[in-house]
Each structure stands twice: as structure tokens, then as C-alpha cells.
Subunit: 358 residues, 2 copies
């Protein structure tokens, strides 16, 4: 039974890093006889340039038909100034998330022992760091209506967005987070701003209700400002963090950067049936695009995550992760994770090294 | 001409730290013949306990009549579960900000050389750190309407808030930030989420418009997720950051924690005429309240900021700041900034030491 993988290179370094993940996927496809059928499509700025819109119908259909999706990254300054807010690369990404109902975003922040020095934090603060951020991805202020731009009386411009969640949206992401915590160290911290925002009072309420179903998981609550602080102060206090779309965007990037090697971190965006889109935590890095120096490991690890979560191929995923660990042990480093005494390599060399290790 | 200072001890460690700042203010009042008249009032949980509401009319009137306000901190777990959202300590604080039009929140994140080791970040990343976060404080999602809780069709609970800014609100905080940058290193970074939120598209637009009036200040823009990351990766790239209420809440706490000594950081909340409320960046720390171990220095430095910004008494402010630096040089440390070889002191001893240094 063939499994359809949709590959979306996207913009900036996207095509370069995805090409390396593709090499890895092609090889394990053979080695494990996975029956993966790979197809590529356009999204983001690349789609705008080719078709005028960031999410062509063809791409959306292919995404809907696929068993899993691997994305590089979207966005770049050349599309940022488009006055039509709908014609931005990000809308392609947000459109896939929304249309496919990929509400469960898993963003691990793990410090690789080989890269411990890469963190800007002191070793004792981050060594052994292993946090999972569970971010709601299809609701909240990212998608809330009404939204827009208007001119008030007197010609004064005003912009507005709506931060809204209903209990069902909160409950389903809550379950993802409680389940994840159950499979890890059984500690879940729900992050909100319940001292100011009504929408997050409901968030906290529903998390408390759910907690009755997960007596083995210790639930705590933290205000988002304090969470941002605690991530810097003592990140190892966290096991799983669950939060809404906007706070999750901010905190997951901060958490990822604690490791100092955001070029290493994969992410998954899952629907209710574990169908998902997988992508590196980092962005499209337009400043280094086309130079062959981007780190492909986060994308390769995203492919591994895809095999594990959406395709049930844990053995192949394990093998890829072991291969990545091995190239790090060999001392190979792209520029972003380079340190003294190591061997600097480019994007393709790094991909080839993983392939060789496989 | 007497100047009226309203002192709001608030909750948790508030009364303890404010008492030390009061000692300092009383002394410089005499030394510099400042003619300060000090009055105290209730706010937050303390006001709820005494009067049933977090911002009694009497307190608001006193705040309106005052030339400047010094606040300890508000909030604590005993008031967090009140089902009536209006009867929360935070509403007292938000009520003063809104009623007095204190839209300009200045939050410096400065690393004291004497406390360089206190940071969880590596010395080379934070040494010499001196960032100013300018946060809009009376608009955005904190105050946007409509907001609340409703039950949708089918009995589904929903919570909602509105993130809204008009161009005038953005322009006036923008001016505060551009002026601040002009008086510092002339670099202003405006933080938004203009790739997703329409309200921040307007934010970016207005900042760009303003920039024409400040050709000597270099304006840049950054998405909030990236800003959270860059604060961890390379905080010294920033001079002044300007952002909205919610993002400012999160980023200013993260920035403060980079110094490792949030117990040292003051803040100012100013209206259009530089009347203001001054408070430490840290919260009410209910866990250590009443033990006499809280660090009063952020409150003492807030009093200094008050003298400088709202009362035009720069010389008295300088003297307080020098006294604080001197007690640090003497090796005195409260628990939060304690390190080997230093002398651990309590709240009152620290306050007394500053008084002695004056
Ligand atoms: C590109 C952008 C729309 C996106 C987001 O804000 O969700 C990105 O920052 C992310 O975190 O995946
Ligand atoms: C106490 C709370 C309402 C407040 C805020 O969110 O503004 C605090 O976190 C702050 O930053 O001053």
C-alpha cells in the first residue's frame, strides 16, 4: 500500500534543506521498503511567483490527498511589502494548517549533548534540556474573526484582530498535551494570561477540567510573561508546555533558541488522526539562501518525525535519528553550529554524511 | 511648592519593599529639600480585602491628584480564583494605568557589573547589557472591546478578546520610543507580528511613517517570535525596543531575566506629561512575602526613576543610584542576587544600607 508524501520546498533555504531530507527519505524508503511515493508542490513565495497566490488549489488538493507533508520554510522580504495581505507566503502555510485541521503543533526543544556549547546559556542551566511545547495551531488570534483594518470617524486608521477559543478547541489540544506529558515525565504546564484575558480564563478552566481525566499528570498554570522569564531562568523545570497559537509561537522560538542550535529542531503539526505536516522550527533564512550553507538536519529530523508519527515507521525514524547523532559525533558542523576543532561542512555535504551513515 | 507622592504598597512583598523605598525617599526629601508629601493608599488584593474592590474611588482620586505614584506589586493566589473577573488585584493596576492614561511603559534591562554572574547566560553574551523596552500600556488586547465569555449555540463556552490599536495610540508610543532611542544609541527595533496580525500591520506602517521625523534614529522591524529568540541569542544587538502591550509584557520579562537579577530592575509608566507610576519589574512574589528577604533595590531604583522623570530631581535620583551601586560594591546581597563570598542581608538591612550610603 503506497503512502503519499507531499514535499513542499517553499522559499529561502527551503529548497536546499528539503533536497537533503529527500535524499535521506529516498534511501530509507528503499532500505525499509516503506512504499513512499514522493510528490512536490509549490507553496508560499514560490507559489506566489509562479501562480500569483501562496496556496494554489493544486497544492491544497495534493496536501489533502497526502498521508503526510514535509515542508521546508516559507517567507522572504521580497513578498513582505505586498499591500494585499492575502498574497503573502505565510498565508500558504496558515492555509494548509487551517484547511487540513492541523491543530496540534509539537515543538521539542532538545539540547544535543554534542552541541552543548552552542547555547548562549550556561551549561548547568541547559545541559540535558528536553522540553516539548504543544502549541494550538488552527485557532486563537491567528484565525479569529473579525479582523482587519478600518478607518474610524475622523479618518483615523485602526487595525484589529480577535483572540477567540471555544472549549472544544481548547479541549482537543489539551488532550494532545496531557497524552504527551503522560508519555514523558508527567508534568504539564499550561501557559495563559488568565489575569488579564478572558479567553485564557476559559483556557485555564478547560485545562483544569481535563486534568481530572489525567490524574497521573501533574498540571500547573503559568502566566505567559512569567513563562518567558522561567524559560530563561530555569528551563529544565519544564517537561511539557501547552499554550495557544500566539503564545506558542513566541515561547517555542525562545525555547528552541535556548539550545543554541535551532538548525537542529524539527516540528510536527498534526490533525485528529495524526496526519501531519512536518517542518524545521527555523525559518526560511533569506540571508543565507542559495549559498549551500544552511543546516539540513532539522529538516532531516522532521522527516524522521514524520515517519514515526504519521506513518507508523518508528524503526526507520530511529535509524535516521541515529545517523544524525553519528554525523555530529564525527564532528561535522554547518556554520550555525560550528565550534572550534570541528569540521565545517555545507548543506549537501551534511546531507550526504547522513546518507552515508545510513 | 509641595509635590504629592502617592505610595501604593499593594500585595505580597509589596509592603516590605515599599517601606525601604520610603526610608530612602524620606531621607533625600530632607537632604535635597524636595518638598515631597507622601501619602499611602490601598490597591490590588489589599484593597479587595479592605473594601471589596481592587481600586477604591479614594485610591483613584489620590492617584489623580498625585504628582507621581510609587507602587510595590499586586496579586497573589488567594485572589486568583475569584469568579468575578473584575475583583482581581490586577484590575487595580490596570485601572490606574487606564484612568491616568499611563500609556508609556519604560522597562530598562541593565546588567549591573557587580551582578554579572547572576545571569543564566554566558558572560560574553550579556556583559554590558543595556536595553530599554518601551511598551504601550493602555491599549491593545489588554483593553480592547468586545471581550468576555459567552455560551454559543449548543451550549459551547467561548472566550474572546480584541487586539486593537488606532494610529494615534501607535504614534504616541512610537514618539516616546524614538525620543528614547535618540537619547541613547539611536537604534529602535519595533516588534510586531505583521505577517499574521492586521493590527500590527498598522503598527508597522505608523512606525515607518514616524521614522521620517527621526532620520537620526535607525528603525528596524522584527517579528515577535524572532525577537524572543534574538533576546536569548544576542541581546546586545538591541538598544530600544518598542512594542504593544501584550508583546511588551512578555518580552520585557524575558529581557529582565537575561540580567539574572530582576530584583534590581525598576520601571516607569508615563502619561503624555511625564506624570507617572513607578514600580519594580518583578511581581508580588507571594511565596516569600512576609519573610523580610525580598530585594528592595528595584523599588528604591523606581523611586529614583520617579524623581528623575516625573519630578525633575535628577540630582537626587543620581545620588540614590550611586548609593545602590555602593551597597553592591560593599558586597551586600539579598537572596535573589546572592553569590559566593558576598554578604547575605534581608530587606530592611538592604534598605538601611542604602540609607547609610546616602
Ligand atoms: C511564518 C509564520 C506565519 C509562522 C507562525 O507564526 O506560526 C512561524 O513563525 C511558525 O512559528 O511556524
Ligand atoms: C500584573 C499584570 C496585570 C501586569 C501586566 O500584565 O501588565 C504585569 O505582568 C506587568 O507586566 O506589569
Amino acid at each position: 500500500m503506497a503512502k503519499k508524501i507531499l514535499i513542499l520546498p517553499g522559499d529561502g533555504i527551503g529548497p536546499e534543506i528539503v533536497a537533503e531530507a529527500r535524499k535521506v527519505l529516498d534511501l530509507v524508503n528503499e532500505q525499509f521498503n516503506l512504499g513512499l511515493e514522493m510528490q512536490e508542490a509549490l507553496v508560499g513565495g514560490a507559489a506566489i511567483d509562479a501562480t500569483g497566490i501562496p496556496l494554489p488549489a493544486e497544492t491544497l488538493e495534493a496536501a489533502q490527498a497526502a498521508d503526510a507533508i514535509l515542508l521546508g520554510a516559507v517567507g522572504g522580504p521580497q513578498w513582505d511589502t505586498n499591500p494585499d495581505f492575502q498574497i503573502r507566503p505565510e498565508k500558504g502555510l496558515l492555509g494548509i494548517r487551517a484547511n487540513l485541521g492541523l491543530f496540534g503543533n509539537l515543538r521539542p526543544a532538545i539540547l544535543y549533548p554534542q552541541l552543548a556549547h552552542a547555547s548562549t546559556l550556561k551549561p548547568e542551566v541547559v545541559s540535558g534540556l528536553d522540553i516539548l511545547i504543544v502549541r494550538e495551531l488552527t485557532g486563537g488570534i491567528y484565525f479569529g474573526q473579525p479582523r482587519g483594518y478600518r478607518t474610524k470617524e475622523g479618518g483615523v486608521r485602526e487595525g484589529f484582530n480577535t483572540y477567540v477559543y471555544d472549549e472544544n478547541e481548547i479541549r482537543r489540544i489539551g488532550r494532545v498535551a496531557f497524552e504527551a506529558a503522560r508519555a514523558r515525565n508527567k508534568k504539564l504546564c499550561s501557559v495563559d494570561k488568565a489575569n488579564v484575558l478572558e479567553v485564557t480564563v476559559l483556557w485555564r478552566e478547560v485545562m483544569n477540567e481535563l486534568s481530572a481525566e489525567y490524574p497521573d499528570v501533574e498540571l500547573s498554570h503559568m502566566y505567559v510573561d512569567n513563562a518567558a522569564m522561567q524559560l530563561v531562568r530555569a528551563p529544565k523545570q519544564f517537561d511539557v508546555i501547552v499554550t495557544g497559537n500566539m503564545f506558542g509561537d513566541i515561547l517555542s522560538d525562545a525555547a528552541a533558541m535556548l539550545t543554541g542550535s535551532i538548525g537542529m529542531l524539527p516540528s510536527a503539526s498534526l490533525d485528529a488522526n495524526n496526519k501531519g505536516m512536518y517542518e524545521p522550527c527555523h525559518g526560511s533564512a533569506p540571508d543565507i539562501a542559495g549559498q549551500g550553507i544552511a543546516n539540513p538536519l532539522a529538516t532531516i529530523l522532521s522527516a524522521a518525525m514524520m515517519l514515526r508519527y504519521s506513518l507508523g515507521e518508528g524503526a526507520a525514524a530511529d535509524k535516521i535519528e541515529a545517523a544524525v547523532s553519528q554525523v555530529l559525533d564525527q564532528g561535522l558542523r554547518t556554520g550555525d553550529i560550528m565550534s572550534e576543532g570541528m569540521q565545517r561542512v555545507g548543506t549537501a555535504e551534511m546531507g550526504d554524511a547522513v546518507v552515508a551513515a545510513l
